[in-house]
């Protein structure tokens, strides 16, 4: 479903973010990508979203190389990928409800569907009562739950979560991971980039380990092992 083919990203000769990384992800998998800060986790996810171009190599989503997708096709691909970021990236001038609804609007959904699906997504993350709050009126954990609802509302095939728990306390971290598991159980592929040991070890799923831009381990039921 997702295939990284010898992907390298070189910002400058002394700053190599990714080096010859190849792996593939099957549908409904839950993959954790671990490594120190600067190991290339975020860059890897950016490559899949086509937010940044690789220096060499190809990134396929199904049979399409996302970096060769046309102007019209790229939005279609991105609609099938939900993204969650460490800094939430909610739109500050929109309420929680609108932050979720605009993703559906961007995908040209009907008003009727938006009115049905947004409350469902809010229900899933347990924030129905905060629907009309603006991001600055929400706590960190609540913001991230809105972001998850936003990523999930279009029923994407895959969800990318880039350090979703990086700014959260252990309690909120557990809740977010539970949500991701729930979403994965509903049939959505999840790719989680993190450097949180407990999260990874508690999952007991596939773990890809990056170090200085290189893929050094890929374990079916992995643990967080970094020297």
């Amino acid at each position: 479903m997702i295939y990284f083919d010898k992907v390298s990203k070189v910002y400058s000769p002394t700053s190599i973010a990714l080096e010859d990384v190849s792996f593939s992800v099957e549908p409904k998998e839950f993959v954790s990508i671990v490594g120190h800060s600067g190991a290339g986790k975020t860059t890897l996810l950016k490559m899949l979203l086509a937010e940044d171009k690789p220096t060499s190599g190809k990134v396929f989503f199904e049979s399409v190389n996302v970096h060769e997708a046309s102007r019209d096709d790229l939005p279609q691909i991105r609609r099938r990928i939900g993204s969650i970021f460490q800094d939430f990236r909610l739109l500050p001038t929109k309420t929680a409800y609108e932050n979720i609804a605009f993703v559906m609007e961007a995908a040209d959904a009907e008003d009727k569907d938006i009115e049905e699906d947004v409350p469902q997504a809010l229900e899933l993350v347990g924030l129905m009562d905060k629907a009309l709050h603006f991001p600055h009126e929400l706590s960190g954990g609540e913001k991230q739950r809105v972001a998850i609802a936003r990523a999930f509302v279009n029923r994407p095939d895959v969800i990318l979560a880039d350090e979703p728990t990086g700014n959260l306390d252990p309690m909120n971290t557990r809740e977010i991971v539970e949500l991701l598991k729930k979403i994965n159980n509903l049939g959505t592929t999840v790719i989680l980039a993190t450097h949180n040991h407990d999260v990874v070890n508690g999952l007991e799923r596939r773990v890809i380990t990056l170090e200085k831009g290189k893929l050094i381990r890929d374990d079916k039921k992995g643990r967080y092992i970094i020297k």
Binding site: P75, R79, T93
Partner: protein, 302 residues
């Protein structure tokens, strides 16, 4: 598409309201720019009317020798009025010239007495000629010099006033050009300031644009609400500018009319209300939309 337009419109208005301070700043700057353009329209009206008045006061007089008969002079008048450069010709007979001379100097006993003692009319008959434009007096003067009437002509005061007339016509031409140039330069500066302000307003939304692109919004989808915002800046600014001009022209109208001898600005404002409003609206909306379009383009590359 219809759904998208409606959503873009709604989002544009909501953003406009929620980014209150930024919208206010953009509108204030655009009001300044439109005010400048409006002021230039008004001052152009004043300047044009002042220039027309000055031009109307320029004429040349052709004085005929005593031996020229009235018939010959009237022939010359009709020949002159055939010329395309001539706007009007008026004949002043010897008797009329004397009458107006006496009337002008009725308070001066010495002059009246001398005239009475002289016994005959010392003044000459003349033709007063107005040209279509000041630079054509030379052509008219030359025409007279070369014509059959030149033997009857005593003097043409163009040759005495020539330098003044030439300078005046040069000055009038130059002030028109300068007026146009100033209009152009000021409008350009105003537009650049507006463009930068709107760019700044959109700069604050760059993260929003990036997020929208990353969740799969098309470029058009991201851009449309900003276009709506640009249109709103233009419409609201044009309305505010028109409102500002109401008390301003009312207060200044009569004073400027007295000074420039031109039309009352307030009555000009009222009678050309829709034309002025339309110009400001057009400039404002085009400026807003183009600025928004260029400013969003930068952040759409994601």
């Amino acid at each position: 598409m219809k759904v998208n337009a409606r959503r873009a419109f709604k989002e544009g208005i909501v953003n406009f309201w929620r980014n209150g301070w930024v919208s206010l700043a953009a509108i204030l700057v655009m009001v300044l720019a439109l005010f400048m353009i409006g002021s230039l329209i008004f001052s152009n009206v004043l300047l044009t009317s002042a220039l027309t008045r000055i031009e109307e006061q320029v004429d040349i007089s052709v004085y005929f020798k005593k031996e020229a008969t009235e018939e010959e002079i009237l022939n010359a008048e009709s020949a002159l009025s055939q010329l395309p450069q001539v706007k009007s010709v008026s004949y002043v007979s010897e008797a009329e010239a004397l009458e107006s001379f006496r009337a002008r100097h009725s308070a001066n006993a010495l002059i009246t007495q001398s005239l009475d003692e002289l016994g005959e009319n010392p003044l000459q008959a003349s033709l007063n000629i107005k040209a279509q434009s000041p630079d054509q007096y030379e052509v008219i003067a030359k025409f007279l010099d070369a014509s059959a009437y030149s033997a009857l002509i005593d003097k043409i005061n163009y040759f005495q006033n020539r330098v003044v007339i030439e300078r005046l016509s040069g000055f009038l031409g130059a002030s028109r050009a300068a007026g146009l140039g100033i209009t152009f330069v000021f409008s350009l500066i105003a537009m650049l300031v507006v463009f930068n302000t709107i760019r700044l307003a959109i700069y604050t939304s760059r993260d929003e644009i990036a997020v929208k692109r990353l969740v799969g919004a098309t470029r058009a989808h991201v851009r449309m609400p900003f276009m709506v915002g640009g249109v709103m800046y233009g419409v609201i600014s044009a309305i505010i500018t028109m409102i500002i001009f109401y008390p301003l022209t009312l207060g200044l109208g009569q004073a400027t009319a007295r000074f420039f001898g031109g039309p009352d600005l307030f009555s000009y404002y009222l009678s050309n209300f829709f034309e002025i409003f339309f110009i400001l609206l057009l400039v404002g909306v085009i400026l807003g939309v183009i600025s928004s379009s260029i400013a969003t383009r930068r952040y759409l590359r994601v």
